[in-house]
Amino acid sequence: MKNQLKVENISFNYLNKKILSDINFEYEDRGVIGLLGPNGSGKTTLMRILVGLKTPKTGQVLLNNKSILNNREELVNMVGYLPQNFEIYNYISGLDFLSYVCDIKGLNNEEKKEKIDYLVEKFNLSSVIKKRFGSYSGGYKRRLGIAQAMIGNPQFIIIDEPTVGLDPEQRFEFRQYLAGIGKESIILISTHIVEDISFYCDKIIILNQGKITFDGYRDDLIEIVDGKIYEGIINIEEYDKVKENFRIIEQSGSERGKVKLRVICEDNNISDGFTKVKPSLENAYVYFQAR
């Protein structure tokens, strides 16, 4: 069965300051939606509104045509949530916590045992599951976090900054887990790391200063920027001049005394030595942020 998520007119103010205004988006079927935005753009606030931890000034969230914000029972049963800093009490074991979440989600003993066994195996938690949470590494904490979010087969899973604080190996591993569970539910992931999004997201939403600036698919985003990104290798002395005239979006070292740059140029009026290139997702994101 197809799942349907509809977010309608969400606005949120904090002390008369607009944090989110008029947030609308919808998604059907299973897959991963990436919510991309710089720090302070309102991503975590939006995530907390979607899981009922904050009350929006206006708007509603419909999951399979059911409003979930006014019905906590429904929300907890239908939604899985992994907050940015997933913490539980240090003296509780992972097993105790998963068992607690199973109880909350109304699983009977048999279902509970089956589900926990499945999750422990899926997320490679068997070596730590009976240990105190306080002894877990960052990677194990995230794995336990995603495991608890999957209890009760939620139709919608919300994950805030999934790879923050993880080392490169753990990030890779975690991205693989997320790509896997994206085949079972709608997953909304918020991040400011473009690499996370490029790995597994079907749909991308860019949030900037509390407003959606892009809502579409990855290729659409790249297409908008296509033809506006140039790359060239310049002498280091020319760097300031280029910086004055163009927005530099990527920079890497080249041979001695030279630097490789990617710049945005919307009117084709570019210096010699620069050629048009196919933009990456990160280039497209930076372009949107710069607008």
Binding site: R72, E87, I88, N90, D103, N109, K112
Partner: protein
């Protein structure tokens, strides 16, 4: 693979079963308080006449005298217990996921934990009170008067502490404010907080109806504090 011994909701289980340290402290404090009650009644008895009607002769029954043990020391211990019980919720980010899993419009998890600890301390305090006043209890009204004298301050300070912890998401302001409240109330002899004094013997209360107004105010405010703490903690 994993066998579950528990088939009940773990609302309380995971939270206080493993807090052996806190439970041990409460048990030790309870035993000390009860022994102190026995000491007072046997070795250093209150100047009470056996069989005096506490309800009719509140001042004659010497209930107007200061009770630092029950109106200062027990409330301070209550503050420590509540801070200790809730500090880990807010020192990390545990409260966020626990709040998410609350299905009610009222934070059942916070309420049940607060209730467990408060009832434990009240029970210990009452045991001490009844040991001390055992020879003066003549009727059920005497019991009610004693309960009115000694339950509301502990209830009030416990709920105040919880309320501040939940509002500030930090146990330190709660600890500081609650301790200051108890200490200032003692130093001012109840003059500072008037109808909200913890002391049943303060000058303001040398009148039975004022005594009841004071006690009822403490209970009502306690209920309001707990209600708002549990309501506001359904959101973050």
């Amino acid at each position: 693979m994993y066998i579950f011994k528990r088939d009940k909701k773990l609302y309380l289980d995971i939270f206080y079963k493993k807090k052996c340290g806190l439970n041990s402290i409460i048990i030790a404090f309870g035993i000390a308080l009860i022994l102190l009650g026995v000491y007072y009644v046997k070795i250093n008895p209150l100047p009470l006449i056996h069989g005096i009607d506490i309800n009719e002769n509140y001042s004659n029954g010497d209930l107007l005298w200061s009770e630092p043990l029950l109106e200062r020391d027990v409330p301070i211990f209550m503050i420590i217990v509540i801070c200790f019980a809730f500090y880990e919720d807010y020192i990390g980010n545990a409260y966020e996921i626990l709040t998410f899993y609350n299905k009610e419009k009222f934070n059942v998890l916070i309420f049940s934990r607060w209730l467990v600890y408060t009832v434990m301390i009240l029970f210990i305090a009452l045991a001490n009170v009844f040991i001390q006043y055992i020879y003066s209890i003549g009727s059920i009204l005497d019991v009610l008067v004693l309960m009115m004298r000694f339950i509301p301050p502990i209830l009030f300070i416990s709920s105040l502490c919880l309320f501040i912890i939940v509002i500030f998401k930090n146990f330190i302001p709660a600890f500081v404010v609650s301790i200051i409240y108890v200490v200032l109330d003692q130093f001012s002899g109840g003059r500072l907080f008037k109808v909200f004094t913890l002391m049943g013997n303060s000058f303001f209360l040398e009148n039975k109806s004022l005594f009841y107004i004071n006690r009822l105010s403490l209970i009502i405010i306690s209920v309001i504090f707990v209600y708002f703490a549990c309501r506001t903690s359904t959101k973050i």
